[in-house]
Symmetry: C2
C-alpha cells in the first residue's frame, strides 16, 4: 500500500485538530460498523439522508457522524450530500485500527485517571470490550498478519496432520487451515472460556466439528495433555507479548517445546514495541497498542528483545516475514 | 487569549494524526485529573518517573500517558524527562473541553453504532458520565461563561433580594451570588434529584442553608410554586438549548414569564450551533457539543434562531455578551 501512514513530524497540530480527531475516531469506528464506509467506498457522492434511511439510521444522529468525519477530511459535505474525502481511502483501509481503539479499548482509556493510580492497580482494574476487539482484530489480521501467515504456510518444508493454535479466539485461523489443508486436524487453545465456546460454535457452523476441537488452557504456563503429542504445527498470533517479560518468555516457550515434542514449526506473529520513531512520527496503530499495554501493565517486547530470547527457549529462528502495517509487526518461523 | 483555536483548513491530517489524537485526548483528560498538567505548567522539564511517584502513579502506565501526550506535541520527551510541548499552553487552557468529551461523553460516542440506529432510539438509549461532565463544566464555565455572567451582573439596573438558577447543577452559581451579594437569597431548580441533593449539600458546606434552597423541577415546563413570586433575577446557564425545538422554546419561556411575574432580568447563557465555519475549520469544542446533541437527539439552536424567538416569548433582549471560546456562545440579558 502506498499510503501515508505516519504523522508529518514537522507539522503542528492545533488543539482543535486533536479534539476533532478524537470525535472522528469514534465516528470512523461507527461508520464502519453501521455500513456507511462501505456505502461511501467508491461512490462519488451520496445523499446523506437517503444513506441514513438505507442503513436504518436516524438522520439527525447521522449528521453528527458525518460532521465528525468531515472535520478531519474523511468525507466532504456539500449541502445534503456526502462524498469520500481526501483521506477516505487511507482511513477506510485501516478502519479496524480505529475500531480497536475507540470501541474496543474505550473503557481502558476513559478510566485512565483511575488506571494510572498505583493504589488501584489490583484485581481487574480496567475493562475492555472483548467482542469489539475481536470484531476489529478479524479485519485487522486479514490485511496484516494473514498474508504473512499464508506465505509462511506455503514455505512449510513438511506435510502436517495436526495444527494447534494458541489464543485461538474465534477459531477463524483453525477453520481456514482445515479448509485449505484437507485431511488435517486442528486444536484450539485459549485462556478464555468464551473464546473456547466461540471456537466450538464457529467450528460446528463450518461443519468441522470432527476435525477441530478447542480446550481452555493457559499457553503461558501450559499443563501437559496427551493430545499435544500429535501436534506438528504450532501457530500463535497477536498474543506472543503475553509471554513476556523476558524470564517468563523463556520459561513459557521452553514449556511449549516440552509439551509439543513433535512440533516441527512454530509460526509466531505479533506486533512489537516500536523503536526509533520520533514521538510525533509514531506510525498508525502502534501508539494505541503500546500505550494500552502500558496502562494494563502488560510487557511489550521490541523486535530485538524477541531476537535475543529464542536461543534460550529451545526454538530456532528459521525465517521471518516483516509486516508493513502495523509497523514493527512480524511472523517468526521457529523450528 | 491569543491562541490558535481552529484547525488550519488547508492542512491535511494523516490517519496517524487522527488516531494519535484520539489517544491523546483521553491522555489530556487524565493528565489534568491526576495533576500532571498542573505540575508541568510553567516547568522547564521534569523527570517522568519522579513526577509519577509524586502523583502516586504507576511509572509504566504513566509512560503510556506521556507517550500519548508527546505524539501530538502536548509534551516533548527527552530520555527520562518530560517538558511542556509546543501546544501545551493551548491544550492546558482548554483541557476541560477534552475532559468533557473523552471522560464525560465517552459512553455516548463509544456506543455510537447502537445510538445511530433508529430502532434503538427509545428509552435511555445512551449513557454519559454526569459526574465527569460536572467536573469539566465547572472549569469550562470559569473561563467562558463566568466572566460574561459577572459583567452582566455588574450591569443590573436594580438591586435584587432573590435569585433563581435554572439547572442549578452543583449550586456553585447560587453560592457565588450569595457570597457576592450579602442579604440576597437563592433558589435552585434542577430536573435531576442528584443535582438538587448536591446543591443542598454544597450550600450546607458553604454555611448558606438559611439563604439558598433547591427544588426538583423541570424548567422546560415549570409547575407553579408560591415561592417563585419573590424571584427578581433569573439565571440559566448551559441548558437553554433544552428548551428547544422552537415551539417548545416559545412555550417554555412564556411559562417562565408567568411563573416568575416579578423577575426583572433573565441571564441566559449557552453555546449555540455554529454557522459558517468550514467542516475542516470548526472551532475547538463545538464539534463535540454539536455532534453529541445530534446523537442524543437534542435540538441545538443557532444564534439567529435564538434572536428569532424572544419576541414571541414575552422576554425582551436588553443586552448580550458574546463569548470567544467556546465559539458561538453568548449570555443574553433578557427583561
Amino acid at each position: 500500500m502506498s499510503i501515508t501512514e505516519v504523522a508529518i513530524p514537522g507539522a503542528k497540530l492545533t488543539s482543535a485538530d486533536i479534539y476533532n480527531s478524537a470525535v472522528a475516531s469514534w465516528a470512523i469506528a461507527a461508520a464502519w460498523e453501521v455500513g456507511a464506509l462501505d456505502e461511501l467506498n467508491g461512490a462519488s457522492s451520496l445523499d446523506a439522508e437517503e444513506l441514513a434511511e438505507k442503513l436504518g439510521l436516524d438522520p439527525v444522529a447521522s449528521r453528527g457522524m458525518f460532521q465528525a468525519l468531515a472535520s478531519v477530511g474523511v468525507v466532504t459535505r456539500d449541502g445534503g450530500t456526502v462524498s469520500p474525502g481526501p483521506i477516505f481511502d487511507e482511513v477506510n483501509t485501516y478502519r479496524s485500527y480505529f475500531h480497536w481503539l475507540s470501541r474496543g479499548c474505550s473503557g481502558l482509556y476513559t478510566e485512565m485517571p483511575s488506571v494510572l493510580r498505583k493504589e488501584n492497580r489490583v484485581g481487574s482494574f480496567y475493562h475492555r470490550d472483548g467482542a469489539a476487539i475481536g470484531y476489529a482484530c478479524r479485519e485487522l489480521s486479514s490485511f496484516s498478519f494473514d498474508p504473512a501467515f499464508w506465505a509462511a504456510m506455503d514455505r512449510l518444508p513438511f506435510d502436517f496432520k495436526v495444527a494447534a493454535d494458541l489464543g485461538c479466539g474465534s477459531g477463524e485461523r483453525l477453520i481456514q487451515i482445515a479448509n485449505r489443508y484437507p485431511g488435517t486436524r486442528g486444536l484450539g487453545l485459549d485462556i478464555g472460556l468464551p473464546a473456547v465456546e466461540m471456537t466450538t460454535r464457529e467450528v460446528a457452523r463450518a461443519g468441522l466439528s470432527d476435525r477441530i476441537t478447542a480446550l481452555q488452557a493457559d499457553a503461558r504456563d501450559l499443563a501437559p495433555h496427551s493430545v499435544f503429542a500429535e501436534v506438528e504445527l504450532l501457530t500463535c498470533f497477536m498474543m506472543g507479548h503475553d509471554f513476556w517479560p523476558r524470564e517468563n518468555a523463556v520459561k513459557s516457550m521452553r514449556t511449549l517445546r516440552e509439551r509439543f515434542p513433535n512440533v516441527r514449526r512454530f509460526l509466531l506473529g505479533d506486533t512489537t514495541r516500536t523503536v526509533g520513531y520520533p514521538d510525533r512520527g509514531i506510525p498508525l496503530f502502534n501508539l494505541g497498542f503500546e500505550s494500552a499495554h502500558d496502562l494494563m501493565g502488560q510487557y511489550m517486547p521490541t523486535l530485538d528483545e524477541w531476537y535475543g530470547v529464542f536461543e534460550e527457549t529451545g526454538w530456532k529462528l528459521a525465517g521471518e516475514q516483516r509486516i508493513e502495517s502495523p509497523a514493527a509487526s512480524v511472523v517468526f518461523e521457529l523450528e
